[in-house]
Symmetry: C2
Subunit: 115 residues, 2 copies
Amino acid sequence: MQSIPQEKISAASEGLRAIAHEVRLSVLCHLLNGTMCVAELMEATGASQSNLSQHLTKMRLLGIVKNEKRGQQVYYHIANPAFAELVQALKSIYCPEMCEQALVDAEPTILLKEH
Amino acid sequence: MQSIPQEKISAASEGLRAIAHEVRLSVLCHLLNGTMCVAELMEATGASQSNLSQHLTKMRLLGIVKNEKRGQQVYYHIANPAFAELVQALKSIYCPEMCEQALVDAEPTILLKEH
DNA sequence: TTATTATATTAGCAAGTGGTGATTTATCTA
DNA sequence: TAGATAAATCACCACTTGCTAATATAATAA
């Protein structure tokens, strides 16, 4: 067996810690469906403005999400497909029923609020 | 869109936090290949006896690993297939070259810091 | 201009987490 | 039996993390 190099462990660990927090994980789950602005994420996650903003900043600095300003709003989306994959894998472990359904259902209409 | 129930987020978050620590993640990566005793895991991870034991205890209490005493040794293995899956998914993102069906397009380039 | 709204930043503190070293428990062997 | 070995537990301390409240910044509206 090959042993896993320490730097890969460190990188994976940092990535996991970044998404392990309840608020950040919740944000990412919602962003799986597309771009959302801060106010929408506040509503979706229940986190306070300041708290959510700090979590978003942390994820942005780690390259997990990207943001884009449109007028007064700031819209966030998942920047790195590896994280989308990870969160999707998590979701299919912890919410298998939502994932099967997502495959079967037609494209949800209200989700993508881009443009 | 269905929103993700809070209790699922909490459970997933707890699971992630449990495997996000470098030592615990390293242990789990090694246990993907089968059962190992504490001394072998010490050698493999480089953690101290006390430290490793505490991490193993934590994972055991969370149901992530199980142990079995054989003589003076205690052997550990991954108890929950969901965690094996997760760690395997991580591994194929961060160490694609080590995984049989390497994901060609999944780049481990997570942590680019912006300015 | 001033006021309002959306988001980000800062400071300070409380709580959680992880590491070390000492001790304990259990098993094996001479 | 005593001593050695493997692993677990405990006590303590340092460090990190996350939250709140206050303030700052930036865009828009009146």
